[in-house]
Subunit: 272 residues, 2 copies
C-alpha cells in the first residue's frame, strides 16, 4: 500500500516555502503541492473575515486537487482561519502555530530556568490581534508569560531583499525595543517571512534571546500525525509542484530566496 | 439640468483618497463614490495580468452603481490597466499618470532652464516596469529625459505611519541616491501613497529638486473634461461614499491619514 496523492501546503505567498523545504527533508518520498495566494498577499494586514474567505477558497481548491493532508503554512491564515477550515475538511489538517508554540516552550525548557522573562511572539498585526500564539503557549505551559509584538514591515523588507541592511536594522531596533527591555529568553518568528531576517533580528535582540521558527517543528508534527496508510513509500523521491495566483518576475525572485534555489516552475492558477 | 449621479474614483487601497480630496475641493457640488480594493492591495508588486483583472472588475462594479465619470486614482492601475478599461467604458475616464506627467513638465517649465537634468519618477515596481510616465512625459516634452526609480517599501512605510522616522529616512537615502547623483530638478511622486512621505523624500533629495504629485492636476483635468450636461449644480454640497473590500481597524486608521480627517463610514463591499 502506497498513497501517491499529494500533501498540500497553503500560504498567502511564498514564505511558506520554508515549511515546504522542511517537509520535503523529513518526508522525502511524498509528493508535495504548494499553493501561494500571491495575487492577494499580504494577509497579515487584513481582517479575519477576508482572511477566512480566502483561506477557505484555497483549501477547497487543494481538496479538489486530491490532497491527502493539508498544512496551513501561514501564521496569519492559521491564526484566523484554522477553526473555520477544520469543520470543512475530512483529511489530516495542521497549522504552523501549535508547532511553533511547542518549539518555543521546548526552547525555554532547554534553558532550565537559567533565564527569566516572557516568550516574545514576533508576528503580523492580524496574528498578534488574534493572540493565537498566546493561547497555544498557555495550553502547553500555563505559567509562561507571552508578549505579542507586531512587526508588519518585516514582510515587505523580506520581499524587497532588504534583510541585513541599515533599513532592516533600524526597523528591528524600533519593533524589538520592548522585547529587549523585557529580556525575553525566547522569541518565536511567528510569520514565515521572518526567518529571512533572522540575523538582523538576532543582532538586535542580542545573545540572551533564542530564536525559534515553526518550519521544522511543523514538519515533525506532520510526520507524527500522518497515518501509515496515507504514506507514499520509497525509494523514489517525491515530486513538488508550486502553484501561485500571481506569477510576476518579483514573485519568482522572492520564491527563490525562500526555497534556497531557483524557482523555475511556478504554475499560475486562478482562485475565485 | 443637473446630473446627481456620482463621479467614481477607484484605487487599490486608500492612497487615492488624496485625489478624492482634491476633486471634492474643485467640484464641491458633485457626489463622489470611492472604491478601495483593500482586500487585495497592494497592486504595485503584482503582474499586469492580475492588476488588469482586478481593475476591470472594480470598474464594472462602479458602472453598475451608476457612475457618470471614472477616475483611476491609482498609478499602478492607471499604468497597467487604463488601455484595457478604456475599451469597456462609455463614460468620461481619467487616470492619474497623464495629469502627473503634465504637472512635472509644467514644474520643469517654471524653472525656465535654470536647472539641467532628468525628471525623476518615483513609483511602484509595476508602474516603473510599464514606463507609463516616460511615455506620458515624452508625449508632452519629447526632449526631456526621464529616470524611473522603484521605491516599493514607501507603500508599507506610509501604511505603518513611519513617514518621518529614521527607518523612512534610511529607505529614502537608499532609493534616492541615483536621483541625487543625477541632480534631477523635478521628481514626480508617482504613487498615491508617496505624498505622506513628502517631507522625508524632500529632505533626502535636497532643495534642488521640486516634488510634484498628481492629485491636484488630476482634479483639474477632470474639471476640464467633464461636460456641462454631466455636472451636478449647486448650491448643495455633494456627498461622499467610501467603499472598501476589506475594512479592518488598520485600514480605517490609514484612510484617516490620507483623508486628513477621521474615516468614520467605510462601507464593506464584496468584489468577485
Amino acid at each position: 500500500m502506497s498513497d501517491s496523492r499529494p500533501i498540500a501546503l497553503f500560504d498567502s505567498g511564498v514564505g511558506g516555502l520554508t515549511v515546504l523545504n522542511a517537509v520535503a527533508r523529513r518526508l522525502p518520498h511524498e509528493n508535495l503541492l504548494y499553493l501561494g495566494d500571491t495575487a492577494r498577499l499580504p494577509y497579515g494586514t487584513k481582517s479575519p473575515l477576508t482572511v477566512q474567505r480566502y483561506a477557505i477558497k484555497a483549501v477547497s481548491f487543494l481538496l479538489e486537487r486530491d490532497a491527502k493532508a493539508l498544512v496551513i503554512a501561514c501564521n496569519t491564515a492559521t491564526a484566523l482561519a484554522l477553526p473555520a477550515i477544520r469543520d470543512q475538511v475530512g483529511v489530516p489538517l495542521l497549522g504552523v502555530i501549535e508547532p511553533g508554540a511547542r518549539a518555543a516552550v521546548e526552547a525555554l525548557g532547554r534553558l532550565k530556568g537559567r533565564r527569566e522573562g516572557p516568550i516574545a511572539v514576533l508576528a503580523t498585526e492580524a496574528t498578534v490581534a488574534s493572540n493565537a500564539y498566546g493561547l497555544a503557549i498557555s495550553a502547553l505551559a500555563p505559567s509562561v508569560p507571552v508578549m505579542n509584538v507586531a512587526c508588519p514591515l518585516f514582510v515587505p523588507l523580506a520581499e524587497e531583499g532588504w534583510t541585513e541592511n541599515e533599513v532592516a536594522a533600524a526597523a528591528a531596533e524600533r519593533y524589538l525595543e520592548a522585547v529587549r527591555r523585557a529580556g525575553a529568553p525566547v522569541a518565536v518568528l511567528g510569520c514565515t517571512h521572518y526567518p529571512l531576517l533572522k540575523r538582523t533580528i538576532a543582532h538586535s535582540l542580542g545573545p540572551q534571546t533564542v530564536l525559534v521558527d515553526s518550519a521544522d517543528s511543523t514538519a515533525a508534527a506532520l510526520d507524527r500525525m500522518l497515518p501509515e496508510k496515507l504514506r507514499r513509500l520509497g525509494p523514489a523521491a517525491g515530486e513538488t509542484r508550486l502553484l501561485v495566483t500571481d506569477a510576476s518576475e518579483r514573485i519568482r525572485k522572492v520564491a527563490g530566496r525562500f526555497l534556497g534555489r531557483e524557482a523555475t516552475s511556478l504554475e499560475l492558477v486562478d482562485l475565485p
